[in-house]
Amino acid sequence: MSEIRGKQPGHWLALESPSSGGSSGCRIESVGVKLPSGRLTTRDLMGRTSHRTRIQLERLTGIHERHVVGPGESSFTLAAGAARDCLAHSQRQASDIEMLINTSITRSKGRSSQSFEPPLSLYVKHAIGASAAVNFDLSNACAGMLTGVFILQDAISRGEISCGMVVSGEYISHLSWNAAKQIRSVFSKQLASLTLGDAGAAVIVERAPEGAAGIDVIGFTTLAEHSRLCLAFPSTVGPGAQMYTKSRTLQKVAIEDMAPLVAEVIGEAGVDLTEIDYLIPHQTSARAIRQGTQAFAERLGAKPKHVVVNLEEYGNTSSTTLFVALHKYLEEQRIRKGDRVMLLALASGIEIGMAIFTIDSQVDHYGRTH
């Protein structure tokens, strides 16, 4: 292995960038998505709660509908489908993938509602033919996919590998059905479970060609004093899990700590917040995203040009939200070559992760030109 030691950590975040000695020449090469064909509107979901709740969920969250799995679909089929879509948008072959990381919270496969061994990454790599890849799963709540990208870019920057894939298949709508059996009011800790939708996403990270734009900075930290604000366990009211979230406290804490972390990341990238063309935050509710971005923009005295919200169509697809949104904006050619994108993961833990990168030739493989 080559030896690349940068400056010692002086950051709150575990962070990697060209100026800290890493991350140079590493890029997101392609993004793939697999959406299940079934759709569930918020009106239909709220019409099937066991108790009359009077919750105006669509108005509160901005979610009109979400995709949901049908018979034969699972976390595995979503992850494998997304991996295949990612390869279809890529210049790479499955045989080029040297490391494959599955990062979904849910790991349903076959009759198992949550697979433990072997790791789901093993089945995905066999399904797509990435037989030479080193594989493992990681679990980091809704920050899983960006955590996987962090690991891959570190391995690529050091020259350990030149190409890797992160996948996630989230069949998580069972939390909505379990919450619907018990929820009574807007104050329920299961309210956030009603926002969830199913999706698979995959991303290929590779060594960037000479001179190509790539990842400017990526970093993570865990605010563990708040580790118990969002907990999910297997349910006893129906198959799958239940999740209990202190949403308001979580939002308050995230707003409080987000500004200095964003400042650290944009400072490391050597840019101003106004130079971020698209901020893609974790998709929870439209109101929370508006409040959150407004709060740290006020503290930092600047704001990004666009903040991406795609909740209306997908809901909160858990660990896949950032890449489902990026994929949509690439397909719709709203994000263009040269645009600077910032991904912002916020997850139970509390995990906060961020990445800033510049779009390069990826756009050639999406939308009308594909």
């Binding site: 292995m1 030691r5 002086g10 000695g21 009759r111 198992s112 433990f116």
Partner: protein, 307 residues
């Protein structure tokens, strides 16, 4: 210079009558930090590689709860100081070596200065017919980076798809009926662990094959290995494997009897034995080997002196 092992601790009890995965990992992490003379706040990255928990919690990562329990940089640090980043890595008995590979990378690139890896497994709430093929145990190890020559130099991983169904585990929903079921409850998710006949034998086959390929890639042979750190640690895996590889018994890091049936902790337990006996410090080349579901084999080479 390299990513070197500062300390390794493994235990089977957490001070409670019924051990929990979180408390076992907490206790091991505290013991490991104490052995190394480190503070929890020194840890930049904490990876939990345990698999089986009593509650089968889906989120957050158990690592975040352990970070809070041991008090490692819980909130915003003073300006210029680092925080701690925690997550779970899942790869069965091979998870510890996968986590070592990840942290060695971040140490090498200077993103972190001290990495912690914790493990634990307890009875996961099995179906009525099953019993877990392991005993409760927890482990922790610390990886640092300094000017000493010791460190991890090479890693290898292989999977054998023809054996992917020989060991399978996961949660399955079971309906519950009757008077003892609480109102509103309709069932529970129970763990099913299915180990097919011949699994243990195939593990040894695959471990031998992958080891020979790894050493061949490095231009080494088994005679160059001074110490073998194997997982699982059970004698019916370790002894046939070492005989087939041609490794003398005195070059194997056997664990204490109470840790023989540790699961993801097996690698840490064997390392602890090697550190305690002084053999890790004496061995020029130590081969860490783990074999588990998949079948997956992960290997790591740890050298006291650079090649």
């Amino acid at each position: 210079m390299g990513a070197h092992i500062e300390a390794a601790s493994a235990l089977t009890r957490d001070g409670w009558r019924k051990p929990s995965a979180r408390r076992l990992a907490d206790a091991a992490a505290r013991a490991c930090l104490a052995h190394a003379g480190r503070q929890p706040g020194d840890v930049d990255m904490l990876i939990n590689a345990g698999v089986y928990r009593e509650d089968n919690m889906g989120e957050p990562a158990l690592a975040a709860l352990i970070q809070e329990d041991i008090g490692a940089n819980l909130g915003q640090p003073p300006i210029g100081e680092h925080g701690t980043f925690s997550f779970d890595l899942i790869n069965g008995t091979c998870g510890v070596i996968s986590a070592i590979r990840v942290e060695t990378g971040f140490l090498r690139s200077g993103v972190i200065r001290l990495g912690a890896i914790v493990t634990s497994d307890v009875e996961p709430g099995l179906t009525d017919r099953g019993t877990a093929p392991f005993r409760p145990a927890g482990g922790a190890m610390l990886l640092g980076w300094d000017d000493s020559p010791a460190g991890f130099t090479d890693f290898h991983a292989e999977t054998f798809p023809e054996y992917e169904d020989l060991f399978v585990s996961g949660l399955a929903w079971q309906e519950r009926h009757g008077r003892r079921v609480s109102r509103g409850e309709s069932g529970q998710s129970l763990m099913v662990i299915d180990a097919k006949p011949g699994y243990r034998e195939r593990l040894a086959d695959c471990a031998e094959e992958a080891t020979r390929r790894f050493l061949s890639r490095l231009g080494m042979d088994i005679g160059d290995i001074d110490l073998l750190v194997p997982a699982p640690a059970v004698p019916d895996f370790v002894d046939p494997l070492r005989v087939r590889l041609g490794v003398p018994g005195d070059r194997v890091a056997y664990v204490a009897e109470d840790l023989e049936k540790a699961y993801t902790t097996a690698t840490v337990a064997a390392l602890q034995a090697a550190v305690k006996s002084g053999r890790l410090a004496e061995a020029r080349s130590t081969l860490m080997l783990a074999a588990g579901a998949g079948i997956t084999v992960t290997l790591a080479l740890y050298r006291q002196t650079p090649p």
